[in-house]
């Protein structure tokens, strides 16, 4: 199997980010909340990326921020994924009124941009991690639903699924042994895309002041804290922005590659 350079690069960077998130407390040079330096110091050997609007070390906050951003994005995309895939397969294999009800409900949810729905909902609900993860997960599950339903419907009409049905196989065998193995690649690629979407979504909400609330802080929130510095030529806000961009692009590179491989099914072996 040959992995293109771009995908390899994406994988390595993504792995590094995940490791950073896990080990943040051990590798961060300064505590997250203490103002260790002066306001908006430029990068130096003491503060590698400079200090922020009240003199906290940006690198340390960035490392801790990775924890929050990646955790929230991962959990909400896992939620989106398991819900969306479950209902998508259910709709595809059962058909009938179940399919009808689920599909129309999803149509309705997707008729309005996710951000607008999130804003409306968050104007009522309390802003905490659980609510954010649930809202993002449910909103995003609609896209997973559409994809997994479409993929499963395509596979369900294949002759080999019909052959299994004629053999007398149970629903469980048909879903897990005949359909799922063939739907896996597009779904894996989709998971990457959903994760990116979740990163962008939570960052945007935090940037708008409607996401992660202090004392916790994520990358989007850090951009918000430091945005005023930009007027004075302080690049502090760009550091978390850059982190978001690099993570999103890396995952995208991997997902792109998985997606391209999908077109060449070879029984799972790289011939």
């Amino acid at each position: 199997m040959r992995i293109p350079v771009s995908a390899l690069l994406g994988m390595s960077i993504t792995t590094i980010f995940v490791l950073i998130a896990i080990f943040a407390p051990w590798i961060a040079p300064y505590p997250i909340e203490s103002a260790v330096g002066k306001v908006w110091e430029n990068p130096s050997t003491t503060y590698w990326l400079g200090t922020d609007t009240i003199g906290r070390d940006i690198l340390s906050r960035l490392l801790y921020g990775a924890q929050v951003t990646i955790f929230v994005a991962l959990v909400s995309s896992l939620l989106a994924f398991s819900m969306g895939a479950f209902f998508g397969f259910l709709a595809a294999t059962r058909g009938g009124w179940i399919d009808m009800v689920l599909s129309r409900a999803v149509d309705l949810m997707m008729a309005v941009p996710s951000l607008i729905v999130a804003l409306v909902v968050l104007s009522v609900l309390p802003l905490n991690l659980t609510v954010l993860i649930l809202v993002m997960g449910i909103l995003d599950s609609t896209r997973v639903f559409r994809l997994s339903r479409a993929v499963a419907v395509d596979i369900a009409v294949m002759d080999y699924v019909e052959a299994a049905r004629l053999r007398g196989e149970k629903q469980g065998w048909i879903i897990f042994r005949e359909i799922l193995p063939n739907a896996l690649s597009p779904l894996v690629a989709e998971f990457g895309l959903r994760f990116i979407f979740a990163v962008l979504f939570i960052s945007t909400l935090s940037f708008l002041g409607l996401g992660i609330q202090p004392p916790l802080s994520d990358w989007g929130g850090m951009v918000r804290e430091n945005k005023d510095g930009l007027v004075y030529g302080k690049a502090a806000a760009l550091m978390p922005a850059l982190a978001i961009a690099v993570l999103a692009i890396s995952v995208n590179l991997v997902a792109d590659w998985v997606l391209q491989r999908t077109s060449s099914l070879k029984g799972g072996r790289g011939a």
Binding site: P113, I116, L119, S123, A241, N252, D256
Partner: protein
């Protein structure tokens, strides 16, 4: 009735029903969530009597259905109620800001649409070679960026590295058209970037899809030059998907505009919405949310209609 007309009417009715359903969800769905508007206004320390009084005053003691229809009836007459936070008329506030949002979105669209189609054509024409790879790579990076991140990169570049613009966009009534244009230049550039990437990628895919058809090979085997192939055979079939792509992405502008307005403190609808979400001013949020939803649904239906009208099978039935 001509089957085409029937389809168009069906689609329009469907769109209206969808909008109605969305308004129900935005109104009643939100009502069902835990949270209390009266409590939100008066704070945690409010006495039960004060809460009850406020609820009665706002009509919150009535069943949700009654309130929904009252609200709908008023909304259809242009009365969106009063904001909880400052008791000002919502419709009036929206009227002041809608123009600014539209001005920004239209300016962005005017630049982004031809640029996206042009770049999409170039990428499709040189499919697989370096212009395509370059354009596709850059746009892949761009769609990986949230709007506000793109915005700050642009701000830093154009106000700090190269001193071209002011980082804040102030527009106020009575401002001249060109002054206004200059003021929105920066947010416009950001919006263009964000929309351009999606629009261009989808345009490229739409053209490639058409270029792979057997009738394009037929045209080449007829001895047509590449330009003749594109003009006579590819374009008549690609135009509908391209217009659909453009319209769908204009709908995407609706989301982009919210964030970009906040970044630039641009006094328009998006900023208004976000402010009032933070203040938990539900009537404002609902009203603005439905306006955004209506624009989004409207544009998506327009894209559908164009697809239907452009289909020769539907225009010339057997």
């Amino acid at each position: 009735m001509h089957p085409l007309l029937k389809l168009v009417v069906q689609r329009l009715v469907l769109g209206l029903l969808l909008l109605l359903a969305v308004s129900v969800v935005i109104f009643l769905g939100v009502e069902m969530l835990p949270g209390d508007t009266a409590q939100a206004i008066l704070g945690q320390s409010a006495t039960p009597v004060a809460l009850a009084n406020l609820r009665a005053q706002m009509g919150l003691d009535q069943p949700p259905w009654v309130r929904y229809f009252t609200w709908l009836a008023h909304a259809l007459q242009g009365d969106l109620g009063k904001a909880l936070t400052n008791n000002k008329d919502i419709a009036h506030a929206i009227g002041q800001r809608l123009g600014n949002t539209l001005f920004l979105a239209v300016c962005a669209a005017v630049i982004a649409v031809p640029l996206a189609i042009g770049l999409g054509l170039i990428a499709a024409r040189h499919h697989g070679r370096w212009p395509d790879k370059l354009i596709s790579g850059v746009t892949l990076a761009m769609i990986s960026l949230p709007e506000f991140v793109a915005a700050y990169f642009v701000i830093f570049l154009l106000t700090q590295v190269v001193h071209v613009f002011q980082p804040v966009s102030m527009v106020f009534p009575g401002m001249g058209f060109f002054a206004q244009l200059k003021a929105v230049a920066l947010p416009m550039i950001v919006l263009v970037m964000v929309v351009l990437a999606h629009m261009m990628r989808m345009t490229r895919a739409a053209i490639l899809n058409v270029m792979q058809s057997a009738y394009i090979e037929t045209a080449e085997l007829k001895g047509l030059s590449p330009m003749q192939v594109i003009w006579r055979h590819a374009l008549p079939n690609a135009i509908a998907p391209i217009i659909s792509v453009v319209v769908i992405n204009l709908a995407y502008l609706v989301v982009g505009v919210v964030v970009v307005e906040v970044v630039f403190s641009y006094n328009a609808l998006g900023q208004y919405l976000v402010d009032h979400v933070a203040k938990r001013d539900l009537p404002v949020v609902q009203a603005v949310g439905i306006i955004f939803a209506a624009v989004y649904i409207g544009l998506n239906i327009l894209a559908d209609l164009i697809g239907i009208i452009a289909n020769p099978r539907l225009r010339h039935p057997k």
